[in-house]
């Protein structure tokens, strides 16, 4: 960690360097003491305001927004949570069916997490620990794959899933997602396995464990924080994904994810913007909550891992 060094430094031998240098130093320090908080304020504004605006619009009635677009908070009695009901209700009940979309998104995202971890945890362990032919080449292959644009992959997958008539299904989408994130997941987990000292595993070996036993009882528990943060990472990717959902699911409204549903309805004139803002909030909140939860917990998990090591 960097520590506070120069800002409150009492001695300033710079003064001896000549009046002009001293002057410039002081001017710059003054300048930055003003610029720094301004920069932070500006960055906070651009990072948070759009999301505040999203929340604000989701609670304001549409005609109020049209009359007074500049309002930064809802005036008295203006708060109207009815938009959330509109957006969540099924289409049969006159809503937009986001509850179904939410369920689809959760199914796909959680399925992707589970399947990816089942595939990538053993894979990462193998790449990190075991010496087998082609181990390095596999690492390079996995990374090289990511230099190709998603749209390039999307074409043959689109053709393939059309042919086997799986294009509108969530299963098809899930398989694609797993393939998309498996390599990154392996890469992240491998780095973590590399940091676990081999001596711990050797101790287990001396006690007579086989490789798989060592992996299961020693390395996996140690790698739990990394696996958990990796799981969150995969969940975020799968939850936020848009292109493949658009290509595969667009014709089947029942299978839309929240991202796809929002993007499809955003262009239409019939659905009020405020209702779709409620949809945006619903799409964004799980991710933001997960992110802020994992922020703290992640730091705790990592330090715990260090103590054990």
């Amino acid at each position: 960690m960097s520590t506070a060094t120069s800002t409150t430094r009492p001695e300033r031998p710079v003064a001896e360097a000549g009046p002009s240098g001293w002057h410039r130093d002081r001017v710059e320090r003054r300048l930055f003491s003003v610029v720094r908080p301004l920069t932070i304020a500006f960055l906070l504004l651009i990072c948070l305001f759009p999301f505040y605006y999203m929340l604000l619009l989701s609670f304001r009635p549409l005609d109020a927004v049209l009359q007074d677009p500049g309002a930064l908070w809802p005036s008295g009695g203006e708060v109207d949570p009815g938009t959330y009901g509109d957006v969540l209700r099924s289409t049969d009940d006159g809503g937009q069916g986001f509850l179904t979309f939410l369920r689809n998104s959760f199914v796909v995202a959680i399925g992707t997490v589970v399947l990816t971890l089942l595939v990538s945890v053993p894979g990462a362990y193998a790449v990190s620990r075991l010496d087998f032919f082609g181990r390095r080449q596999i690492g390079a292959l996995f990374l090289g794959v990511y230099f190709f644009p998603a749209i390039l992959l999307a074409i043959p997958l689109f053709v393939f899933f059309t042919r086997i008539e799986q294009r509108g299904t969530l299963t098809g989408l899930l398989v694609v997602y797993v393939a998309q994130v498996a390599a990154v997941s392996i890469y992240m987990l491998r780095n973590y396995f590399d940091t676990i000292p081999a001596s711990i595993e050797e101790a287990a070996e001396i006690d007579g464990c086989t490789r798989l036993q060592t992996m299961w009882h020693v390395s996996l528990p140690l790698a739990m924080p990394a696996i958990a943060s990796n799981a969150l990472f995969i969940f975020m990717i799968a939850w936020n994904e848009f292109l493949f959902a658009l290509l595969f699911l667009v014709e089947k409204r029942d299978n839309w994810t929240v991202s796809l549903g929002l993007s499809q309805l955003a262009g239409s004139i019939e659905v009020p913007t405020t209702v779709l803002m409620a949809g945006s909030v619903i799409l964004t909140v799980p991710i933001i909550v997960l992110f802020f939860l994992s922020e703290r917990w992640l730091a705790g998990g990592l330090t715990a891992g260090a103590e054990k090591g």
């Binding site: 920069t39 932070i40 651009i46 677009p69 945890v121 230099f147 398989v175 797993v178 798989l212 036993q213």
Partner: protein
């Protein structure tokens, strides 16, 4: 717990858990190596199969498709062995708008990468010294990056809306704009200081959006590298009378350059291939049609799979060339520094 690996293995692992480990004589060193190799193959196989089937094969298939006349209509009758020709490539490369799309893609990725890294660097410098609440501020900086792209584009489209968008509202009432600006649908080219740059207002908007969305990534990378710079270097420079900008220029920046070089490659690749943001913001209209959006247009709206595949391949090839050139240039410079 979902971390077991293939279920069969998990079952065999549970059994001997509490059994006192008996030493088997056959575990000689060479047997161990052989076993490791076998276990290695076993563990990597699922990943390999899925990545091969869903990533490597599709790439090969794209190459095959790019050389055939495949349309959505005759999709069911085309096989891997078909009539191969270069027609798609000649059609794509000579079709009107392809070069424009390529130039747009370049402007978008160079502009987006540069702005994102610049903003990320500014953020990392501003948050360098500890202050109360820095952890929270830092977390907030990452929000645009983790938020779903569809929600982010939707809220910005609404904010920039000419009729009731908040940006245009305050622009016209507070900043004295004559008319609301159609940020996302205006093909009017911008002309700073009277110089016509042939860059539409919408393209500038999507570049700035890209900077907003991906600066947190640069911020994370740069912050991590900054924390590794030893304080003693800067302290020595301060003692020698270096001002803050001099310390940045001669001490911090040189340490950050390799990180910035890597960031540039990564961000450039991702921005170059980016589809979601532009498709959702402008649909590719008003001078913002990048190649990825054009590929989508050929695939879905025109149903011309062959031409779409050919364009995607050209995109990947150009990207490969650009990245190679960059790595050559910067690989050298890093060695010197």
């Amino acid at each position: 717990m979902t971390t077991g690996g293939p279920t069969g293995q998990a079952a065999t692992l549970e059994a001997p858990e509490r059994v006192p480990p008996g030493r088997r004589p056959r575990r000689a060193a060479s047997t161990r190596v052989k076993q490791d190799r076998r276990t290695g193959y076993l563990l990597i196989t699922p990943t390999f199969v899925i990545v091969f089937a869903m990533v490597v094969l599709p790439i090969l298939w794209t190459i095959s498709l790019a050389f055939q006349q495949v349309r959505l209509l005759n999709l069911r009758t085309t096989g891997v062995i078909g009539d191969y020709s270069l027609d798609n490539f000649t059609n794509v490369l000579t079709s009107p708008g392809f070069v424009d799309a390529l130039v747009t893609t370049l402007i978008y990725s160079v502009g987006g990468t540069a702005c994102a890294i610049g903003l990320g660097l500014a953020a990392a410098l501003a948050l360098r010294r500890p202050f109360r609440g820095r952890g929270l501020v830092r977390a907030c900086m990452l929000v645009p990056y983790v938020a779903p792209v569809v929600a982010a584009t939707f809220v910005w489209t609404t904010m920039l809306n000419p009729q009731f968008g908040i940006v245009n509202h305050y622009g016209t009432t507070l900043l004295g704009w004559d008319d609301p600006i159609a940020f996302l649908s205006s093909s009017k080219s911008i002309a700073p200081f009277g110089v016509d740059l042939h860059i539409s207002q919408s393209l500038v908007t999507v570049v700035l959006f890209e900077a907003w969305r991906s600066f947190p990534f640069a911020f994370l990378f740069i912050t991590a590298r900054m924390q590794a710079i030893p304080d003693s270097l800067e302290e020595a420079a301060t003692v020698d009378g270096a001002t803050p900008t001099q310390r940045f220029r001669h001490i911090i920046l040189p340490q950050l350059l390799p990180t910035i070089a890597v960031l540039t490659v990564l961000r450039f690749i991702w921005t170059f291939n980016n589809f979601d943001d532009i498709y959702l913001l402008t649909g590719g209209g008003a001078g913002t049609q990048v190649v990825a959006v054009r590929v989508f247009d050929y695939l879905i709206n025109r149903g011309d799979i062959g031409a779409a595949a050919a364009q995607a391949l050209v995109l990947a090839a150009i990207l490969g060339v650009l990245v190679t050139i960059y790595l050559r240039l910067f690989g050298r410079r890093e060695d010197v520094a």
